[in-house]
Symmetry: C2
Subunit: 327 residues, 2 copies
Amino acid sequence: MIGEFDLIRKLSKMMDGPSPGVYRSIGDDAAVLEPPPGRLLFSSDMMVEGIHFRLDFSEPWEVGWKALAVNVSDIAAMGGTPLYAVVSLGVGRQDRPVSFYEEIYRGLNKAARRYGLSVVGGDTVRTEGPLVLDVSILGFAVSPVLRSGARNGDLLAVTGCLGASCAGLQWFLTKKTRHGPPYVDKAVKAHQRPQPRVKEAQAAVATGAVTALIDISDGLAGDLGHICEESGLGATIEASCIPVDASASRIASQVGASPVEWALRGGEDYELLMTVDPARGSLAKTAVENLGTRLTFIGEMTDKMSGVALVESGKWTLVERGGYTHF
Amino acid sequence: MIGEFDLIRKLSKMMDGPSPGVYRSIGDDAAVLEPPPGRLLFSSDMMVEGIHFRLDFSEPWEVGWKALAVNVSDIAAMGGTPLYAVVSLGVGRQDRPVSFYEEIYRGLNKAARRYGLSVVGGDTVRTEGPLVLDVSILGFAVSPVLRSGARNGDLLAVTGCLGASCAGLQWFLTKKTRHGPPYVDKAVKAHQRPQPRVKEAQAAVATGAVTALIDISDGLAGDLGHICEESGLGATIEASCIPVDASASRIASQVGASPVEWALRGGEDYELLMTVDPARGSLAKTAVENLGTRLTFIGEMTDKMSGVALVESGKWTLVERGGYTHF
């Protein structure tokens, strides 16, 4: 078995070299950084083999990509810019070669490059259990957008389409393969290689239209529930307006499921959900769509404290709090 | 089983309230922070049950204390001030009550309060494996001290005494109990509740005497090896000068081990090892000892690239690279 220091050395070589604002990276007790002026954003997300990913479904590099991307999405969800990350890796099963971990770091580095941030340190430890990957991220924003700023009457808008990530997972669980027609490939990629909406968030926020912002990691219903709770409001969604991904619709019809349910509760789409000042709604839409990403209005915030209501063919249903959860 | 959001909510209540520079803490996609001016320090350390701690040896609150303290020690090792931490918790065995995790967070909070930092976020996930606790820490320093700044002829100095932490662990492994005479209690506490030397590092650095700095987590030999490697130098240590902890000496004589070996290779002392400009050595000593902590000179840096040499009764031995490692 390779030693800890050898592994760290090998893995640190996988990472891109010095970046602006990084005075000292991997190799000291802590990284030394000089971020741009603004408020700092700080969060972490842990992924565990068998719970958050399976290595018969994901390529090792995709595990690395996703571990970083879900953290980038947390920064996007504040309207911020990702800057630096540290990565803690718990090395599980001893029969995996070093090249396996190199592949994970290759995926991390690929995502870091894509989103313009630097991996500046971390930890590598042994575990008797499953592989664990915990990423902590630092970003900055001049005016971070919280979950708590929504106002009664604000419009609800989502970027992109929903349900594809859940569809990709359900395809794999049902068919025991990640392969299939092109729409399956699209859904599987949505699950394995999420594309956090950093630029879209920044563009929308820059218009001054966005009052609250969150990324859709737990499903539309659950994440809208967080905005409602933090803002002390309710919300209604028009079911027919939810931008369900076409690949999700096709896979759902094959496995006998509802794609709208996947959008509401499937999770891991890493699209943005925002509440928007109605007077500036079209500004936000134009700003996001100029980047080639759809922005769809799906409902509005209400003063009812009764949670999230779904309107479907004129019928109202109260959507249960909480989306997909790994617990 | 309690759900993820309930656990996060319960645990976030364990944490102290708002702190200076914290605009938004647990409860949004990321914490929003405004650190003081200076360079930022960023690092992480992961602890895994069965590898880094055992729950038949540690109290749950001690696991939380140690997980935060070892990260604080990384900031101390740069001469910095700890500011904020995020904590990712992988919840293992399902038969542990919520109160068990509350105890871990109580220990985290206790250490946070002791060292003046705020726990501002994190993640809580499930794992089929052992309990995992990963802490990432942010600190700041006006002039961080790296491992690479040592010069030929600089003096080597360590804070406090070494070997107690390893002695505490060895006592437990040999005697199958953490209890014993007061010196055993002291050694066990050194292992379970490390006290990172934040103020001592700052005081020594403020004298302008310190050229390189590291915390002793892998054992004196291993961590001095890191300074040698990063500074492109060698070092000699006078064995009789190493400040071996009295409890380590007593326990070593009982279990038939060498306390100097524990100091050299035992690790987890979380004392500081510094290289000091000889002209200002007494300034550094006075600054540290004014805080009630011993600073002991144990050798010097040499221009030999041959690693770390130990001088014992006039005999030289080359100390093997690498201290205690969990791999």
